[in-house]
Symmetry: C2
Subunit: 524 residues, 2 copies
Amino acid sequence: VAERRRKYWGWGYEDEQPAPDELRATAAGLADHLGFGDREPEPAVALADVKLAPPRLETPYAQDTWSRAAHAQGRSYLDVVRGLRGEFPHPPDGVAFPGSEEELRGVLDWCGERDVAVVPFGGGTSVVGGVDAIPGPGHAGVVAVNLRGLDRVLEVDPVSRAARIQAGATGPGLEAQLAEHGLTLRFYPQSFELSTLGGWIATRAGGHFATGTTHIDDLVESVRALTAEGELWESRRLPASGAGPSPDRMLLGSEGTLAVITEAWVRVQPRPERRRSATVTFPDFAAGLEAMRAVVQAGLRPANCRLLEPEEARLTLAGEASAGGEASGRDRCSKALMVLGFEEVVEPADRAFDLCRAHGGEVSEGRGGGSGAWREAFLRAPYLRDTFAAMGVLSETFETAITWERLPGFVAQVKAAAAQALGEGSVMCRVTHAYPDGAAPYFTVLGPVRRGEEADRWGRVKAAASEAILGAGGTITHHHAVGRDHRPYYDRQRPEPFAHALRAAKAALDPRARLNPGVLFDAR
Amino acid sequence: VAERRRKYWGWGYEDEQPAPDELRATAAGLADHLGFGDREPEPAVALADVKLAPPRLETPYAQDTWSRAAHAQGRSYLDVVRGLRGEFPHPPDGVAFPGSEEELRGVLDWCGERDVAVVPFGGGTSVVGGVDAIPGPGHAGVVAVNLRGLDRVLEVDPVSRAARIQAGATGPGLEAQLAEHGLTLRFYPQSFELSTLGGWIATRAGGHFATGTTHIDDLVESVRALTAEGELWESRRLPASGAGPSPDRMLLGSEGTLAVITEAWVRVQPRPERRRSATVTFPDFAAGLEAMRAVVQAGLRPANCRLLEPEEARLTLAGEASAGGEASGRDRCSKALMVLGFEEVVEPADRAFDLCRAHGGEVSEGRGGGSGAWREAFLRAPYLRDTFAAMGVLSETFETAITWERLPGFVAQVKAAAAQALGEGSVMCRVTHAYPDGAAPYFTVLGPVRRGEEADRWGRVKAAASEAILGAGGTITHHHAVGRDHRPYYDRQRPEPFAHALRAAKAALDPRARLNPGVLFDAR
């Protein structure tokens, strides 16, 4: 089977990239919409012109330029900027594509015998430096292990509504196979198109659904993985257990440092048949927050419940508003916007709408809160970033979570810190996930940037925002993971004895620290 | 403040024990009801007649007989049988009652300097040998640390609906303090009256509520603990996070082996104002199971949804039925019985009732499914066990969880294995917790037993049941924890690499293995 090749520096597949004219038209339109950015996009360096450092060693794995470039880094804004310019500072020395767990074991053995580091690679969509192929001190090199060959739904249990799925299955790949059984995982991170089940579990990914089961954590019934030394880690299929600390919860969030996840049993469901949704406008963000809190604290569990600042609604939802057939975005766009949807259990929707009205919301039922236009816009967003990178627009996001009583001041503080570091441009906030005791604010940064100054400019914004988040009690990430980018903040956030314990666990499973060195832990 | 003293061998407090005549009348009634058991209860050995091994060392902590006996073991059936007869094979050498985290640190230091093991002691209600004061090899002795002095609600956040509560607060203790703020944790394990927040977290306790948030795990926002060496482990207050593996999830289920929990922020709520509930009778258990699965798989999330076999309903709910004012238990008692209740989000109740009817259920609304009579009976049950122990009735429970597709065969297999090992008597099943992908069967064993043969008889039943559970893919415990009793099965259940990792974590935090030696891990 010929594999569809991924674009080696940005989002998506090679065969779906826009022609130069089309790209130019998009850039012009975006520049008009934003009021900044170059109408003439910078051309990407052609693959043939990409120069990579030679491999540190010969491997039996792929060593061609596409393979090494495409597996050299994730897809953060700075990764995309570098890739556009043909810069891949950390290419792996080889890229393995095991077709089975046994072949994976063979790769682990080969690397183990030579003290070669291993970077497990799912969709490669990390935005936090989670898959850079950087060896630890003393390692002979790095092999990236792309798990796309393990992409099957192996077993379906329609009675318990669970499926055994290989780690390398992408969102669309596993959904297509589940659809044959009338089932769906219904887990939609923004990277859905490219990212994989194994990557979701390794990074505790968060999905589109905004309350209740927000993270993959709660959809995992059991996990199967191989340690660096090829030992099998497999938990039992259980709906719940109280036998000691949860083994699955140690792998969830381990980011490829403790074991390579090969498959998991996950909780699935039939496609929902009942839906009720609405867009709600609020006079301001604060009123929307109060309504959001009221809805989740009443236990109503909408499937979707997101709140956008007026500026963010205006800038990022313009496309969605017209796609969704809304008569006019003008009125909405001076207001905070909530998308609110119920699936399957729709009975509580009326009470949620009433709670919104009680907080000054105008409820327009049947619009936007569901999984149609909104989800499409959500999933299309990563493509835009490649264009922004090429047109001198700094475009990045960061996210966190905090309890309600601190949230309004926290958002203001973090926005101010980021905006001050940014200078010209915008820092906008939406709340993407809501819980009875708090919520997850998500920040989008857009601004003009001179070519060559991206890393410096974004670095200052990210540092200022991260310091503000840590200082005000938030988490350095709600669902983007730690990788390398968040390490300094993560190290301050995690309880020190837990860090000791985790390091000891790491040393026991991977004494040469060969699995994803530098992520979560110091490399050696 | 004069502390109410706990009964040193069984359930409850000294000041609420029945007079001899009353006890005799209860025993006679129970013997009539069961058809076996001695109408003349065995008298408990008086505290003055209890002989304990002398302490291994002098300690500055309590060394009187009550203190040492009351902290020598938990409250399993065999613990109660032994205690009734004045047998306390593993009394601690001293019992500390720290009044603050600083005093706790002092106790840990004192023990650390002398290589004395420490058993953290909350309510002491373990039914799995989780608090036996057994030193590891080389330890100079054991100090039990009763945390009842840390029993305050320290802070309440009404906006985020969370409270900071000390680990030693009992269920009634913390509820009384929360009630002053119009709030409640609404977490009701059967041990509610005596057990503590810290114990719940350490053992991943499961509560009365049967779907959704069944375990304390999901109510924990952050945890604060001291390691054996006095290092502070404190996680941030977060509604959710994706920053590495969850630190709280490592303490949840650690059973006092990694750190001594001193306080936690937990999610609370106002007392619910809306309720709908019903009892539903089904022609048989299988139909009830199908209905239960339909209700949870539809996402309806009842607060309570339990299913009892006809025999269990007859034997254990007779009291409740009359207390609840039911006209007649006769008809119900040939049928499987479901208690089904919704709280606060009551809109989906109609659909749940319809689903029950579609599976042959007869729905009687306004009865039993709520939190009134049913909860009272549930919380009263542990008192009965002291009486059973005294009247030669073997009375114990065990529990597990399994996915739906295996559940009916699994229950039959486990019951058969336990019944065969039991001989005369009954093994009954109820399903206490239901999830979209499975449920938690809970087994009650009742039978006549000759005095002195309890340990042997129960040991055979427990071994047969545990082998059947493990062999058929269940978990050795859904919410009773591991302790010492489940160790052999837990060791087989947990993934081997996870065991390595956890042992390494333990060694890093507690190199002399002084915290609760023998629980979860080998003692040294």
